[in-house]
């Protein structure tokens, strides 16, 4: 699967009409400079040789050099990735919580006005372009009410949260130890997830501050994605609520909330979990737009910036990382599924 994905990305960037190097220089290409860049990036070799070089490099974790300044694409992506991960996690939490809650409410009020209202809400959020919702929130919550900051990832006047395990790689001893362990060069050991780092640092102020900055982007993305969860939870819960064991639980006099969330939802949850895995791809797509709207310094924004520079090696690298990320998440969901569903054993 991952192999096919890598091949597809290679085909798109190298084989589709449009020579990356020529595109990079646009129309006023200097033939000497073009040849030099081709040589530097290994694009003057035959296609099959490029393909094997490309696969080999990726297995070594090398995503190539940027066409802009020949710096390492892998390192740039490595530093942009935590921002996207943090946004993705929080958006998914919002989407799933909101979607499951509304879905349960809809299934309980099946075919009554409340159900219709929730369904319409789900359909409408699905039809909103995520960046438009972002702008509307920026206008209202940010610029109008001044509740939340409208962009960026952290308050520029406060130092970025760093976990206590932060190691300054400029000291010779730690450089030797860390780089021999991780081989990632000039990267510190903080997770890069500001909410987590600030907690590890024990600084509640920074934690709240990072949540404030995270709030609007993840709300935007979470709202747009919640529709899918509403729909799925609604149909699954509707079927589960009619099963005998739910009636039995009610007959025993359990409270309705306990019957719904403790009994029925547990059984209707597995398909929803599968959806979390599938929706992750959509979420990352939406993250590109959300990050651009909110100047969120993640992988999506990195792609967009690189498109403007016509930096095709960087685009290729970022697309690969997005694909790998989705594959890892779907693998994790499969494993979790096997753990949660006793009928499936690995």
């Amino acid at each position: 699967m991952i192999f096919i994905l890598l091949t597809l990305v290679f085909l798109i960037i190298r084989v589709l009409p449009g020579d990356p190097v020529l595109l990079h220089f646009e129309k006023n290409a200097n033939p000497v400079a073009v040849e030099q860049m081709r040589h530097q990036l290994g694009l003057d070799k035959p296609l099959w040789e490029q393909y094997f070089d490309y696969l080999l490099a990726i297995f070594r974790g090398d995503l190539g050099q940027s066409m802009q300044d020949y710096s390492s694409v892998g390192q740039q992506i490595f530093s942009a990735f935590p921002a996207t991960l943090e946004l993705a996690i929080f958006s998914m939490i919002i989407a799933a919580t909101l979607g499951i809650f509304l879905g349960v409410q809809a299934s309980k009020a099946y075919n009554r006005p409340q159900d219709h209202a929730i369904r319409i809400f789900g359909i409408v959020t699905y039809a909103i372009p995520v960046f438009f919702l972002g702008m509307v929130l920026q206008l209202t919550l940010g610029l109008g009410l001044h509740w939340l900051p409208v962009g960026q990832r952290f308050n520029p006047t406060v130092a970025i949260p760093q976990s206590p395990w932060y190691v300054d790689l400029n000291t010779p001893y730690s450089t030797a130890v860390i780089s021999s362990l991780f081989k990632i060069g000039n990267v510190h050991l903080s997770t890069g997830l500001y909410t987590l780092d600030s907690l590890l640092e024990g600084n509640i102020f920074k934690f709240i501050e990072s949540l404030r900055y995270l709030c609007m982007p993840s709300l935007t993305l979470g709202l747009v994605l919640s529709g899918v969860f509403i729909r799925l939870t609604r149909s699954n819960m509707f079927e589960t609520l009619r099963l005998d064991f739910v009636t039995a639980a009610r007959a025993r006099g359990l409270r309705e909330t306990r019957v719904t969330y403790g009994y029925a939802l547990r059984n209707a949850f597995l398909p929803v979990l599968t959806m979390v895995g599938l929706q992750f791809a959509a979420l990352l797509g939406g993250a590109v737009l959300t990050e651009t709207t909110f100047s969120w310094p993640g992988l999506g924004r990195y792609i967009v910036d690189r498109i403007n520079f016509r930096d095709y090696t960087a685009i290729q690298g970022a697309v690969i990382v997005f694909g790998l990320f989705v594959s890892i998440v779907s693998l994790a969901v499969d494993l979790l599924y096997a753990y949660l569903d006793p009928r499936i054993r690995l």
Partner: protein, 294 residues
């Protein structure tokens, strides 16, 4: 020899009568309301050259960033363009891109799904694997990568969107074909010596048309949102074409000046258009998959 009479599928009968639609509860109404949104926007875009008060791409037809007024119903943007005229004419790009991408998807996805899954074996495996990999990929990221390589323009946008959505057609068609393949009427057709081509076009295809219609409607909505996203990233049409996506993009830097009208109206139009198709898709899938209607 008597020509075989082709029975019109009940699907057509059901859906072509609006009267019967309104009797089908929420699902019918979803389709009607969705269709009204879509048709209204198509008509509005079609007749916009005759009804718009100003040239949508002419600059300085009014003051810069004027709020909505009688002269400029939806206000003006930072170039002094009339937002109302731009809203009237701005749907063309989205409609063209979504229509083109759906056509490309149909032209590639339907035959691919039919042949690969009917043939089974290695073709099915190979095509299925490629489609699954494409499907699992973040669609917008893939579309961005392809559009970045192909360059700007309506056709390139449509192609990059189509690549992303072909797998959804393939998957739906495959699952349908696999179950239809096992039915006794296919076996009967095979037994009387019908060629594979005939079986596919006369027996299998008519049965999967409803599913294809649902996928295509949802695809329309997705294509519109993806096209808006591509435009937002800067991979859309040139600025000389009025387009809602472009207006949203250029309106973002005006947010701090409080010019809500520059983004709100084009944004609402995109929502209405995508909503129209989503409602239709929702209604259609409920009508054609009545598992929940009890």
């Amino acid at each position: 020899m008597k020509k075989p009479v082709r029975k019109r599928s009940s699907f057509n009968n059901q859906l072509l009568k609006i009267g019967s639609l309104s009797k089908r509860g929420l699902a019918g109404w979803l389709i009607i309301v969705g269709a009204i949104f879509v048709i209204a926007i198509i008509v509005m875009t079609g007749i916009s050259p005759w009804i718009r008060p100003y040239d949508p791409i002419a600059i300085n037809v009014g003051p810069i960033l004027a709020p909505p007024s009688n002269q400029h119903l939806f206000g003006t943007n930072d170039l002094g363009q009339d937002v109302f005229s731009r809203v009237l004419s701005g749907g063309g790009v989205m409609l063209q891109v979504s229509l083109l991408s759906v056509i490309v998807c149909l032209a590639i996805g339907v035959p691919l799904g039919l042949f690969a899954s009917y043939a089974g074996g290695i073709p099915d495996r190979v095509v299925g694997l490629v489609m699954d990999s494409l499907y699992a990929f973040p669609g917008l990221v893939l579309a961005i990568a392809i559009a970045a390589m192909l360059g700007r323009g309506v056709i390139n946008m449509a192609l990059s969107i189509a690549v992303v959505y072909v797998p959804s057609y393939f998957r739906v068609i495959r699952s349908q074909v696999l179950s239809i393949k096992e039915t006794s009427y296919i076996e009967a057709a095979d037994a009387i010596g019908a060629r594979n081509r005939t079986i596919l076009s006369r027996y299998v295809l008519p049965n999967i048309v409803p599913s294809i219609v649902v996928v295509a409607t949802v695809n329309f909505a997705d294509a519109i949102l993806t096209a808006a996203g591509l435009t937002f990233i800067g991979l859309g049409v040139p600025v000389t074409v009025p387009d809602w996506g472009l207006d949203l993009t250029s309106g973002q830097r005006l947010l701090t000046s409080g010019a809500w009208w520059v983004i709100s109206y084009p944004g609402l139009m995109i929502i209405l258009l995508a909503l129209g198709f989503t409602l239709m898709g929702e209604g259609l899938s409920e009508l054609l998959n009545p598992r929940l209607e009890q």
